[in-house]
Amino acid sequence: MSYTKRNDGRKFDQIREIEAKVGIIKSADGSAMFKIGKTIAIAAVHGPRDLYPKFMQNPRKGILRCNYNMMSFSVDERIRPGPSRRSKEISLVTENALLPALSLEQFPNAVVDVFIEIQQADAGTRCAGICAASMALADAGIPMKDLVCAISVGRVGGKILVDLDKFEEDYEEGSTDMPVAMLPRKDEISLLQIDGHIKPEEIEEALELAKKSCKKILEIQRNALKEKYEKEYGQDE
C-alpha cells in the first residue's frame, strides 16, 4: 500500500490547474465557470427574487436554494438525466456550504436560486461547484461575509494529499476522499464530508492542507472577479 508518485505527476500538496471566469451567462444575475484539472462546473444565480410557494418564505430573511446537476455525458458511464439521491444530497451540502457566507437578512420573503451544472467530471465536482457558485453569488451582488473556497483532500495509498482526481478516488489500494469548503477570511469550515476511513491525526493534517489550498483558490477566484470588473471599470493601476 504505497502511492509514492501521483498518477499525473503532481506533488502531494499540489492542486490541478484551475481556470475561472465570471459573467459567462448573460441571462443570469450572476454566473461563473470553475475548471479544475478536467472537472468543469458552471454556476448561475437568479435573485434575490420573489419566492413561491408562499409557505416556503421566511419573513425574517431570504432563503438560499441550490440545485446541483451533472450533465448526462459528463462522465464515462452516462447518467440518466434528472435528480438523483446523490445530486439532492450534494445540493443540500452545497447550500450549507454557501449559507454562512451570505447576508440574506436584507431580503425577507425572497429566494436566491443557485444552479450548478457539471459539464465534465474528473472528481471534485461538488467542490468545483461551490467555487463557481461563490463567484456567481459575488457577481450577482448578493451581500456576502466572505467568498467560499472548496477542495477535496484525502488519503490515497497511505499518503495525505489534496485535490483527488478520478484515478485517485478509485485507487484500488485504498482511497479516502474528504471534500472541504472554507470561508477563507477566518478559516471557517462550511462543508466537511468523508468517504472512506482515516485516522484523526491524519484528518488534522488533511485539514491544514485544505486550508493552504483554499488560500490559493481564493486568489484565483479574486482574480477572476477582478478580471471582469476591472475591465468594466478600469481599475488597472
Binding site: G47, A138, I142, M144, K145, L225, Q235
Partner: protein, 233 residues
C-alpha cells in the same frame, strides 16, 4: 492602532478586509467583524474621512425612499396595484397614492393602470421587511405609452452617469436624438422618439466606459457632434 488597507475608489471584493481598528466607521456595503472592516460586495471603496462605504458595481438595486423607478403593473386589486420594478419583492401602489382624482370605491381600477402598464413612479415608503409603497402623486410621474418606445436595462450604479451633473448628460442625449428619456434608479430607462437606436448606443457606451475620461465628448461625437438645434439655425 487603526490601519487602512485600501485606497479611495479601489476595487474590492466580498470578504476583503478594507481597514482595521475602531477609528473607521462602516457605512453601506461595509460591515464590522470585531476589529476589522470588511467589504460585502464587489465594488469601489469610497473613503470619506473616517467613513468607509462601498459603491456597488454589481447589478442589484437597493431601493431608497424618494427614488424614481420604472415598474410594471402585475396585478390589479381592490385597493391598489402590485408593481414589479425588478427588486426581490413586489411593490404596492395604493389607490390613494395613484392619482389626485377622486376614485370611487366601486370603480374599475384598470382604467387608471392596467395589467402590464409601465409606470414612472416613486418610492414613498419602505418597511424593514422590504415592503415597498409607491406613489404617482408627484411631479414628473406618469404612465408610459403602450404603443411606442422601449425599455433598456443598465447596471443601477451607472444611473448617475446617464443622468450626468445636473442632468447634463441626459439632456444632451435627448436633444441630439430627439427622444424622450425616463430614467429609473432601478436601472430601467425608457426611450421614445425619433432616433431610439442612437440613444441606446449612447447608453451602452456610458455603461461600458463610464470610468474613462472624456466620456461626455465621446457621447457627443457618437450622437452626431453638433447640436441638432444649431443645425436647424
Amino acid at each position: 492602532m487603526s490601519n487602512l488597507f485600501v485606497k479611495d475608489k479601489q476595487l474590492v471584493l466580498p470578504g476583503e478586509i478594507v481597514a482595521e481598528g475602531m477609528d473607521y466607521l462602516p457605512a453601506y456595503g461595509i460591515f464590522r467583524d470585531n476589529d476589522q472592516l470588511v467589504a460585502s460586495k464587489v465594488g469601489l471603496v469610497s473613503i470619506d474621512n473616517r467613513l468607509i462605504k462601498l459603491i456597488p458595481l454589481t447589478g442589484t438595486y437597493t431601493p431608497k425612499v424618494n427614488d424614481t423607478v420604472i415598474g410594471r403593473i402585475v396585478n390589479v386589486g381592490f385597493s391598489g396595484w402590485t408593481v414589479d420594478f425588478g427588486f426581490s419583492n413586489l411593490a404596492q401602489l395604493p389607490v390613494r397614492d395613484a392619482t389626485h382624482e377622486f376614485v370611487d370605491r366601486r370603480s374599475d381600477l384598470t382604467q387608471y393602470f392596467d395589467f402590464d402598464d409601465l409606470i414612472v413612479t416613486k418610492i414613498s415608503n419602505m418597511s424593514k421587511g422590504n415592503l415597498v409603497d409607491l406613489t404617482m402623486k408627484s411631479p414628473g410621474l406618469f404612465k408610459l405609452s403602450k404603443e411606442k418606445g422601449r425599455l433598456v436595462d443598465i447596471t443601477p450604479s451607472k444611473v448617475p452617469r446617464v443622468i450626468g451633473k445636473q442632468g447634463s448628460m441626459i439632456s444632451m442625449i435627448k436633444r441630439l436624438t430627439n427622444c424622450k428619456l425616463s430614467v429609473g434608479q432601478n436601472g430601467k430607462i425608457w426611450i421614445e422618439g425619433e432616433n431610439e437606436e442612437l440613444a441606446i448606443k449612447a447608453i451602452e457606451l456610458i455603461e461600458k466606459e463610464s470610468h474613462l475620461p472624456g466620456l461626455t465628448e465621446k457621447i457627443e461625437k457618437l450622437l452626431g457632434g453638433n447640436d441638432v438645434l444649431h443645425k436647424k439655425e
